[in-house]
């Protein structure tokens, strides 16, 4: 299994990367490569060129600022696993990072790649929906007017950043709302308020498998009641699915078993799985239900333990 030929570019700025993407409509961005390269080896993807992001400074890193956890798009999954900040304050994200691919895959695979590849089997998208995360896409619109004088000069392009809510980001299987030449540079997760907790429950047949189904739950307790909740589902639809009815079932409740059961049922109803070798539609809905209950109860437990 040998990839087809392609041109390779390794720009040192996002502007150059963006320009290369616009100049080569069949080009693809290369981040960790752990989704793209296997597809190329099977010749399921035959990009004319790869634009490698590895030399562009500032695209990797994890830190809190302005009320958000900011994760650079090129941050390796294993960095999430190692990050004390993530492990301590973002348990839903920490859970997710532990079950993506396998340990070696996580050493190269990137968070941005997992999100932007938009494989409905990828794990981060549901987590990001539950977190109400947003994604920063950067583009370099060509604002040069038509005068010859201006066109003759290679004027530096102005970066334009767009913040896209997770709800709007995933438009279909393997597709996002990113525009041609627009590059995902950062993921922003709202910093948890007091009383927050979350959990990711993935059910996979073996390590390295895509989920049969997985459920991300993020919630906040206030005065013994769930004040906010995010519930989202992995690999049971053409895109990650936000289970709004499940969220509604949780909000206002005490997080007890009855509320969790109701939320689990609602999540199962929201799932739109198709039958395959991982199981029937009925089975996958049942797994969503089970996992929702489990994720929500762990999330509640964590919220109760969370520092006020």
């Amino acid at each position: 299994m040998i990839p087809p030929q392609f041109d390779y570019h390794v720009p040192e700025s996002l502007a150059d990367a963006s320009r290369l993407l616009l100049a080569n409509p069949e080009a693809k961005l290369l981040a960790g490569g752990h989704s793209l390269i296997p597809m190329m080896r099977f010749r399921l993807a035959e990009p004319s060129a790869l634009v490698d992001l590895r030399k562009i400074p500032g695209l990797a890193g994890i830190g809190e600022a302005e009320g958000c956890l900011r994760i650079g798009a090129m941050t390796r999954e294993s960095e999430l696993e190692k990050s004390e900040l993530v492990q301590g304050r973002y348990p839903l994200l920490a859970d997710t990072a532990r079950v993506i691919g396998d340990p070696l895959v996580r050493n190269l695979a990137t968070v941005g790649g997992n999100v932007a590849h938009a494989d409905p089997g990828n794990d981060h998208p549901a987590t990001m929906l539950a977190y109400r995360a947003s994604f920063v896409g950067r583009s370099f619109p060509d604002r040069r007017s038509g005068t010859l004088l201006e066109q003759r000069h290679e004027l530096p392009l102005q970066a334009e950043d767009r913040t896209i809510g997770a709800d709007d980001f995933f438009t279909g299987p393997f597709s996002t709302c990113l525009k041609p030449g627009e590059i995902l540079i950062e993921i922003r997760i709202p910093a948890p308020e007091a009383g927050s907790g979350g959990a990711y429950e993935k059910f996979e047949r073996k390590v390295g498998d895509y989920a049969v189904a997985a459920v991300a739950v993020q919630l906040r307790l206030e005065g013994g009641r769930i004040a906010e909740a995010g519930v989202a589902l992995t690999n049971v639809g053409l895109t990650p699915i936000r289970a709004s009815a499940a969220e509604a079932a949780l909000i206002g409740s005490d997080g007890g078993e009855a509320a969790l059961d109701e939320a689990a049922g609602a999540a199962a109803a929201a799932a739109e799985p198709h039958e395959d070798h991982r199981g029937s539609v009925e089975y996958k809905r049942a797994v969503v239900r089970t996992l929702t209950f489990r994720a929500a109860s762990r999330a509640v437990a964590r919220a109760k333990e969370a520092p006020a």
Binding site: K206, V207, Y283, V287
Partner: protein, 781 residues
């Protein structure tokens, strides 16, 4: 003198020195000057007419040197090749393809990358034809005919035993259980795929074939027979089997790729390398199992009476099982297992379907796993139908130790055994009665746990010439030992290790017999120009055959050494005694000569009338098969919310007779167990109605990782084989054969109170959940 580390010592492996340094030499590590690379274009259809192959599309790719098609091979009369089962299979098709991923044409190029580009560029026009994938449907009147050269899809009917007597015994039984079961297609998935480097020397008319093969000599003979019309004779064929990255039976067959690469080397006059991808390996190489079994087992007064098995065997588009037994279903009629019963009958109908050919390659001695699965499932069912604990029921129905040698009603002569001892030991180790108590408590709380037993009898060491041959060649194996003047030795064998540690264990056998330390003995296998003729390594046969040959050849050397010692000691041979590594004069232990001194004398001071040198060869044709056995007990927990089965504990008590190297034996059992739980819980290759494969890569073919594999707990009993020179029986496959039924029995045990009577494998979470759901026991939390 100090005992050298012969039998029973966990000697560290000699072969490790190169493997841990990355210095193993596997097939893809071989690079010859001027070598070309071959890649294969495969069929996307399970059944189609090929209307045109557009060579030019591949030849236009830079670096592509040639395109080989069925028509190219036809010119050499090599488009078809015979199978061991008196059938034939295509090397490359002339006009139709019969299964998805079948070889359609090959591209030869100056680099691996160019060959891949050529194979991708090669355009082929197909007209899809109707497909039949279900063997039952294939037997229906009017079914799509898979083979153009046959009248129907029915390959053979074979039966064994007395049908009438069995029916009568079942009718006279007070309890009869009946169960259909399917053992689906699985694949060995050795981590190294298959491949070869074919190097044809047109000047000398000589072919060197580097090949991932478990049976280099047999391959050489097959190649000689298949190519005799081209003037290629056996003395001008050299097969070299380098280090092999796992075999498990998958590297016994001759695959079309080998023949194509050889033809490509002849066509281009250059060495040609072909290494298959994992996808090709899983999609086109020899599979295992695919038996649809209808079983009935009866008892009277709690004593098993009779067994009946009726079987549909899905062979794919050709009967190409690498089965050297004289029976079309291999050793399947070992199916009476560990039990003393008086009537049995087994029938098998082989069927063609639009799937790849194969049938037996999964760490198993020719269908013994199917046999063990059937009997161990049925005994469990029958025990419960009798209202008895499956352990107690087994203990009462086992063949008793005093019945050995035991001739089964289907004609096998079991060499030795003590089945009760093995099961009792396994029950003790796992704490069987305590687990039962725990199970009762858990059930009361709505938790599901199960305990499963499998008390298997293996049948290995193929084999005695009355039941085995390959193209008429008897299934002996060989050892050739040469002692050098300084007392060091080289020993060569007709077998071929794929990780079993032959370089160490054979040396230990010789060490035991001659007193030469294992580290002073170099063991070689795999080169047909240097090794003595043998039939290779599969079906746990190396220790029973070549291991025996090592002992016998050593004893021949010892006999000659005795003459030399008598000469050196000026004593009568009759007055000499042997202790390990040394002859001495009876009554005068100080007067002696070591094997090393004797070896030196064999070249410097041998007695008149005796030839110089100290070497011997043995071709060992075993008088009987060996019958390793064991009892496995497994405890599982089932997640009612997802259907997931978790193996909590797995105790394996194995009896493989005398253990040569306990460390290696345990390693073999560990690996066999992992390959035993894999088909029970994870692995399957399946096809949709159009013949499209699922399980054709490592994303979908679920080889367990360390996370899914439990911590094995091993025990042993030792019942030597009475007919083997050192009492050993072979162990490579016991665990793969015995383990699946233990896991199924455990899962069914966990669900029995719900009304579940059987589970098909693999017991995927989805399948287990369905059973839970059907019986109202699925949980939502």
């Amino acid at each position: 003198m100090a005992k050298c580390r012969g039998l029973g010592h966990s000697v560290q492996r000699k072969e490790d020195a190169r493997f841990i340094r990355g210095q193993g030499r596997y097939i893809d590590d071989i690079k010859l000057p001027g070598m070309l690379y071959l890649d294969i274009t495969r069929s996307p259809y399970a059944h189609a007419k090929i209307t045109k192959i557009h060579d030019e599309t591949a030849l236009a790719v830079p670096g592509v040197a040639a395109v080989i098609t069925g028509k190219t091979l036809e010119a050499y009369n090599l488009a078809w090749m015979p199978t061991l089962m008196s059938d034939q299979q295509m090397v490359l098709p002339i006009d139709t393809v019969k299964y998805q991923a079948q070889e359609v044409a090959a591209v030869v190029a100056t680099s691996r990358y160019a060959a891949a580009d050529g194979a991708a560029a090669l355009e082929v026009d197909y007209e899809p034809l109707p497909v039949v994938v279900d063997p039952h449907a294939a037997l229906e009147p009017g079914a799509t005919r898979v083979r153009d050269d046959k009248d129907s899809n029915h390959i053979f009917h074979w039966e064994h035993g007395d049908r009438e007597a069995t029916e009568a015994a079942l009718a006279a039984s007070d309890t009869v259980v009946e169960q259909a079961m399917h053992l689906p297609r699985i694949h060995v998935a050795s981590i190294e795929t298959c491949g070869c480097v074919a190097s044809w020397n047109p000047v000398e008319g000589h072919l060197t074939l580097y090949l991932t093969t478990q049976a280099p000599h047999a391959i050489r003979t097959v190649v000689a027979l298949v190519t005799a019309h081209l003037g290629l004779a056996e003395h001008r064929i050299r097969v070299i089997s380098p280090d092999i990255g796992g075999g498990f039976g998958g590297k016994v067959p001759v695959y079309p790729g080998y023949v194509i690469a050889t033809a490509a080397s002849v066509v281009t006059g250059k060495p040609v390398k072909w290494i298959e991808d994992r996808s090709e390996n899983l999609q086109a190489d020899s599979f295992a199992r695919d038996y649809h079994i209808k079983a009935r087992l009866g008892s009277k007064g709690g004593k098993i009476t009779a067994l009946s098995l009726d079987t549909i065997a899905d062979h794919g588009y050709s009967d190409a099982a690498a089965n050297p037994s004289k029976f079309p279903a291999g050793l399947y009629h070992i199916c009476t297992g560990s039990y003393d019963l008086s009537d049995a009958h087994v029938s098998v109908d082989g069927v063609y379907t639009n799937k790849p050919p194969g049938g037996i390659a999964y760490r198993c001695s020719f269908r013994v796993t199917e046999a063990v699965h059937a009997i161990e499932r049925m005994v469990d069912l029958l025990a419960r139908e009798n209202g008895e604990d499956p352990a107690d029921f087994r203990l009462r129905n086992f063949i008793r130790p005093d019945q050995f040698p035991y001739t089964s009603v289907l004609g096998w002569e079991y060499d030795s055994g003590d089945y009760g001892a093995a099961l009792e030991k396994a029950m003790d180790m796992i704490g069987y009665r305590d687990l039962r108590a725990e199970q009762t408590e858990k059930r009361a709380r709505g938790e599901l746990m199960g305990i499963g037993i499998s008390s298997f009898t293996e049948i290995v060491g193929a084999g005695p010439s009355k039941t085995f041959d390959i193209l008429g060649i008897k299934m002996f194996d060989s050892s050739e030992i040469r002692i050098h003047p300084t007392g060091k030795a080289i020993a060569r064998f007709g077998t071929k290790s794929q990780g079993q540690g032959h370089e160490t264990t054979y040396a230990q056998i010789i060490a035991e017999e001659l007193g030469i330390p294992p580290e002073d003995i170099q063991v070689e296998e795999g080169d047909t120009d240097t090794a003595p003729y043998g039939l290779g390594t599969y079906a746990s046969r190396s220790t029973p055959t070549a291991g025996a040959a090592a002992a016998i050849a050593s004893r021949k050397i010892r006999a000659k050494a005795k003459k030399i010692a008598a000469h050196l000691l000026e004593a009568d041979e009759a007055d000499l005694e042997w202790e390990q590594g040394r002859f001495f004069v009876k009554g005068s232990p100080d007067r002696g000569k070591t094997i090393q001194e004797i070896a030196f004398a064999a070249y410097t001071n041998h007695p008149q009338g005796l030839e110089a040198g100290l070497e011997a060869t043995s071709y060992y044709d075993p008088p009987n098969l060996t019958f390793p056995f064991g009892s496995y007990v497994c405890a599982v927990d089932i997640d009612r919310g997802t259907g997931q089965v978790r193996i909590r504990r797995f105790v394996a008590v194995d009896d493989c007779g005398v253990r040569i190297n306990p460390m290696i034996v345990e390693g073999q059992i560990h690996g066999g167990l992992a390959m035993g739980i894999a088909p029970a819980l994870f692995e399957e290759i399946s096809y949709d109605p159009d013949g499209n494969i699922t399980g054709g890569n490592f994303v979908e073919y679920l080889v367990p990782t360390a996370m899914e594999t439990p911590h094995w707990e091993l025990g042993e009993t030792v019942t030597p084989s009475p007919h083997h020179p050192i009492g050993a029986k072979g162990v490579g496959e016991s665990a793969t054969v015995g383990a699946p039924a233990a896991v199924v029995n455990a899962v069914v045990d966990a669900l029995w109170h719900l009304g579940v009577r059987h589970m098909e494998i693999p017991m995927t979470p989805a399948r287990v959940w369905s059973a839970l759901n059907e019986h109202g026991a699925a949980a939502t939390r």
